[in-house]
Symmetry: C2
Subunit: 215 residues, 2 copies
Amino acid sequence: MDERKWLFDLLNVEEQQLSEKQLNILQAAIEMFAEKGYAATSTSEIAKRAGVAEGTIFRHYKTKKDLLLAIVKPTLFQSVAPFLAKKFVKDVFENEYEHYEQFVRAVFKNRYEFVKTYLPAIRVLWQEMAFHSDIKVQFQTIFINHVYDKFKQIVEHFQQKGELALLPPETIIRLTITTIAGFLATRFLIMPDYPWDDEQEMERTIQFLMNGLKA
Amino acid sequence: MDERKWLFDLLNVEEQQLSEKQLNILQAAIEMFAEKGYAATSTSEIAKRAGVAEGTIFRHYKTKKDLLLAIVKPTLFQSVAPFLAKKFVKDVFENEYEHYEQFVRAVFKNRYEFVKTYLPAIRVLWQEMAFHSDIKVQFQTIFINHVYDKFKQIVEHFQQKGELALLPPETIIRLTITTIAGFLATRFLIMPDYPWDDEQEMERTIQFLMNGLKA
DNA sequence: CATAAAAGTGAGTGATTACTCACTTTTATT
DNA sequence: AATAAAAGTGAGTAATCACTCACTTTTATG
């Protein structure tokens, strides 16, 4: 019926019911913010692309910034979604993942699919984080409160098992994240037109990471 | 006398003589573009911060975009400066660097100082590359023509010496660059307020990289 | 010192901006 | 079917935008 289940999923608003026009507005805003940036995109352009009157935008979002936040906030949460799941750490400790490599593989694959699916919205989040300190602070807060602590437990768990080098956990976390994020940024942002063999390149990246981190 | 040698160095305009007011304009533009972004910064704001009349900006730069390019182009070249030096590859082959690790160390240290010194201008380059396809194309062109080929020769050299894993050179280049860039981005953009021990963290990063890439 | 070129100025301009509001249309509720 | 609430509209508005231009000041050159 509607090819925009992804918008529902991303914005996590399955319970609320957004009208067709509201979805048009959000989709147009995501696309144009991703292409030209928030500041360089006018509300009249968004209205035109969405096929609505300019006043309709302000009926639903008090300001242009509110429209940006309606896109950015859910994307921010989805970016770290695996770590927000309550049973996530328990899964790791109860031998859902026997080795750090399996854990990394699962996260990598999962985030690869996420970036592939929601690329435009993710672009908007990362681009505008540089200009809006409130968004950057929200990101840092969520990372510290919900991602860092859990990640640290997991790293220490595998260090005790003798799988990982005895570096400070924050260093291992940083190297893990920048290695994965480095691949995704290169693949989807910097060189999206290069003929990648994704499976193979991800495999090489994981081997590199595990060699680099092993005890 | 003047504490702005860095501006001369960055913009690589030692021969031309820029007036005091021109330097004020460039400095103000770099700072404001870095903070708020190009599109969100008005020429009247730049003039105010630079202490000049708005017309003075347009006396030197035909359009606002020209002012952006006057900042971005030299920064783009400086970003890959080590690879642009003619004798760079020869240095590597003639045992200036006996091991890949020494080469990586030299590049890492060099680019660390570069980012530390010119951070605002580098922010502008990377932020606006996302919105201006002409800038992105320039970057890709320079990378392919001046960086990639030389880097590839160096990697193959150390692969033949048996120091590096026999992965495709482009994969080794990617992993090397994203590991270094990942540290610099985390250190200077994402978490600039975290109390880093730069020396130690760079050392760990190099060990990680070499372990990950060794044959 | 004379003269011209270059640098600097700021009021002015038409276009565009985010946003408002009185009004119409659609949807939900009884 | 009646009524109210919600959604949608588009002309209108004050502010701001990048940029121009006639003019003044500074600098370089013989």
